[in-house]
Amino acid sequence: MVCESWKAQLDTYLDGELPQEELRTFDSHARNCPSCSADALSRVQLKRAIHMAGKRFTPSAEFRKRMQQNMAPKPRRSFRLGWMLAAAAAVLLVVGTLTSTYLGNRSGRDQVFSEIADLHVATLASSSPVDVISSDRHTVKPWFQGRIPFAFNLPELQNSDFSLLGGRMTYLEQTPGAHLIYDERKHHISVFVFQEQSLPSKLSDNALQPGKLSFNMETWSKGGLRYFVIGDASAADIDSLAKLFKAAS
């Protein structure tokens, strides 16, 4: 099969471990090969599933407490070692409070970003990525009326490299939202809009690369809505589209 050599590299590609030039070649192949993109999608989904299922065990409160006691300074130890162990006990005491909060927030945030990346990939691999096909924002925007519990503005794209391909309804953490797909020099970029208050995870506004996949993403909140812009376009292009949305909202 023609694709066998590509498929042998698929896991390395999805792990973000392919060298830059091979990554670009692979990207362009995957975009035009339904078999490889479907295979990539199923592997991404399995990766996500393992990621979630793998975060299975958490230390008990008793264990945290026992750690503190075991690490406490013993009278017969030397001063230096005793002092070090006392400090270590203090470290572990803080673990109980700080780590769970910090990691809890981070894992919730990471999960949202990964879900957004999955939605983007899954939609592009779909045979019908949009439910309303139109490059006219005055057609796409009214289509969402009655389908999602909020309204939002779409930017004017004249004098920009972006063109609107269409939209579809989507869900993130059981929250309905709008998914818009834009084209920019043959790169497909997704814009997601959700009600901020409906999303369980607290997110900060920033630009980032979610996970190890070769996407750029920007997210912000405005007027009670949470926006995500994601795609394999450059960070500058993602930012340009984000700015157009910020100006329109």
């Binding site: 479907a38 295979d39 599933a49 393992i50 793998g54 264990f63 690490m71 470290v91 990691l103």
Partner: protein
Amino acid sequence: MDLSGANLQLDSFEELAIPLFDQLYNFAHWLTQNREEAEDLVQETYVKALKGFSSFQLGTNFRAWIYRILRNTFLTSRKGLKVTMTVPLDPDEDEEGLEPAIEHATPETLLLARSSHESLQSAIDELPVHFREILLLCEVEEMSYQEISDTLAVPIGTVMSRLSRARQTLRNRLRPNLQQAAGLRIARGTNHGL
């Protein structure tokens, strides 16, 4: 002078070790498959890491370093020794990881299977430890191949081939569930038609 050095060391240890506590415990529990043994393993790892912290070079990869301590501690424990006795001499030659002639599961069946975290967790649990650990380091800890190579003390080529076999073995073990899920989906579709 000695104390200020120790102070600096502890500050660094604290900074590096705190965020890894829950992750180390999770990994330890997956390795030992037992809560008490996981707790002992994490405790021993922290004690060893603290004692050996003077040998750790700041600026190098602390996460790979402490995971390596945990893994080595596990391998020299009673359960770890038992596991290594039953593992093939060259785990990377394990035939179970060979690619079958069957096609991969479709995205739809995988989506259906995702609803069953428990079946996936059981499948991971049943993997041989050398497959389980590398899969968790890559997918859960999101370590790079280089970090995994540092943690497991194997070349990157071995990381890639072992990871590939681990994934294939997992897919093979999930396949009956996926086919069952696909069957249910087809049956549901038929009912809709009626």
